[in-house]
């Protein structure tokens, strides 16, 4: 494990940079193999996981991945499907069999309508990037209240923070329910003042992502805005 940590050293890779010459690893996301060597295909940082070398992108659009939990909005519907915009290059499809209700043929609009927001999981991405999503799972649902804001998908780990420190701090100070979709959409629900402060704080995280001691800076901001001090009581 400590060996793995060492290999995960943060170093910026640019497209075409050599990552691995050995046969020890398989090329994962954000990489490509040529003449037995593995190169970076994207600007990012390399990570080693279960036999694969990956390049974690530091910028760019959301690239849908099977298993991701994301926030989507309905753009269109048919007798048995909904089209969902998940902030990816392509529209994804939610079928009536993948929702928790029994929907009569042609009755889709009375359950979820165009413009509604949904919390969904990506169940499949095929070679042609056709994306299937599902809502038939505990915790997945239609989002009826609150607001949704968008950040760069590469900034999602920063809003979560190390071991969830940032997100739990945001929740504790603002009293809001917050969910960060891996596609960079964030759902915030709670009283209006709390929502306002949460949005401000998240914008601050995105803008100052590079500042050292970001967690402390955000905590200062939250203390000032909310007038609370959860140093001891907050987890």
């Amino acid at each position: 494990m400590s060996d793995n940590k060492k290999k995960n050293k943060r170093e910026l890779l640019l497209p075409g940079d050599l990552i691995e010459e050995s046969e020890e690893f398989k090329p994962g996301r954000g990489t490509f193999k040529k003449d037995g060597k593995i190169y970076a295909a994207k600007l990012g940082v390399k990570t080693f996981r279960s036999g694969y070398v990956n390049v974690a992108a530091q910028s760019g659009r959301y690239d849908p991945k099977k298993g991701d939990k994301v926030i989507g909005t309905i753009t269109d519907l048919d007798s048995s499907i909904w089209m969902v915009d998940i902030n990816a290059p392509f529209i994804s499809i939610l079928h009536v069999n993948d929702v928790p209700w029994r929907v009569e043929y042609g009755d889709t609009a009375s359950y979820i309508d165009v413009g509604d927001a949904v919390l969904i999981r990506i169940t499949d991405v095929d070679e042609l990037k056709k994306t299937q999503v599902s809502m038939d799972e505990e915790g997945l649902r239609k989002l009826n209240s609150g607001q949704i804001i968008e950040i760069a998908p590469s900034q999602v780990p920063r809003v979560i923070g190390r071991k969830g420190s940032m997100i739990s701090m945001l929740k504790n100070y603002t009293g809001c329910r917050i969910f960060v979709g891996q596609n960079g959409r964030i759902w915030i629900d709670g009283d209006l003042e709390g929502q306002y402060i949460a949005v401000k704080a998240i914008q601050m995280i995105e803008e100052k992502a590079q500042v050292l001691g970001l967690t402390n800076a955000v905590e200062e901001f939250l203390k000032k805005e909310t007038g609370k001090d959860l140093d001891e009581s907050g987890r």
Binding site: K42, Q58, S59, F179, L214
Partner: protein, 258 residues
């Protein structure tokens, strides 16, 4: 190339009009990530050229009939601002800018992994704010940086530079007067890792030997430019590498526990 041979392009000391050696580039400065709303962007100052590039996508291709079912379309649009040249340039696409858009699109398509985004389009807007010879090379160079900044998967960036012939000498990176009154201009774009050529044009005439000399000058200069491109991206991302994150697939779990 003009027929005016009266213009002295090389002085008695063997220096060029702006004091450069034959194999010397103009000053190049690149800055990455200058536009917030674009997915990726970059700005270059190359001598007196000022060029900006913005990348959007991959996104759904419109019009739909232009979609490619098995790959993404790389669509570059080269445009000169009306105020980019001494006489006002009539705005809008013209014969020249359509040509440059096409060759830049094709040069970049070579390195982008287009098969990863079927039916999509990657839009690249190249805006020439000030022009002073060599804008297509500057445009291609800065567009590559913008693509990398946009997180587009590609096998390498592309570096581009021109060589040419003035007053009977083969020289690198022609300036405005050298371009107008010289004898030949050869813009070259290469993939630095493999030295593959993805852009090559020639205006004017060169002998086989002169052509080979010009190519060698241009390719060496491209390697130099590639380092400038890399530095621009490293500066842009140097401060964002602080390790906050958890591996992708653990984010959800952590979030639910928090």
């Amino acid at each position: 190339m003009s027929d005016n041979k009266d213009m002295e392009l090389i002085d008695e000391n063997g220096k060029r009009l702006d004091g450069r050696e034959f194999d010397e580039l103009r000053d190049i400065k690149i800055e990455a990530g200058i536009l917030k709303r674009a997915d990726g962007s970059a700005y270059i100052e190359w001598g007196k050229n000022k060029v900006m590039a913005a990348v959007y996508g991959p996104r759904e291709m419109h019009p739909r009939h232009a979609q490619e079912p098995s790959k993404a379309v790389v669509r570059a649009r080269y445009n000169m601002a009306a105020f980019s040249v001494p006489d006002r340039k009539r705005p809008g696409p013209d014969r020249r800018s359509v040509e440059i858009s096409k060759i830049i699109s094709e040069a970049l398509e070579e390195v982008v992994f287009v098969e990863m985004f079927p039916r999509a389009v990657i839009d690249i807007f190249i805006e020439v704010l000030e022009a002073s010879a060599g804008t297509r090379c500057a445009g291609l160079t800065v567009a590559s940086v913008a693509l990398a900044d946009a997180g587009i998967p590609m096998s390498n960036m592309i570096a581009s530079c021109a060589a040419g012939k003035i007053d009977g000498h083969v020289v690198l990176d022609l300036g405005k007067n050298e371009d107008n009154f010289g004898e030949a201009d050869v813009p070259v774009g290469i993939v630095p890792n493999t030295d593959k050529i993805t852009l090559l044009q020639m205006d004017g005439n060169l002998t086989k030997e002169e052509y080979e000399e010009a190519m060698e000058l241009a390719i060496d200069a491209c390697d130099e430019i590639y380092e400038i491109q890399r530095d621009a991206l490293k500066v842009r991302y140097s401060t964002t590498l602080e390790d906050h994150g958890e591996p992708d697939d653990e984010i959800e779990k952590i979030q639910e526990e928090a």
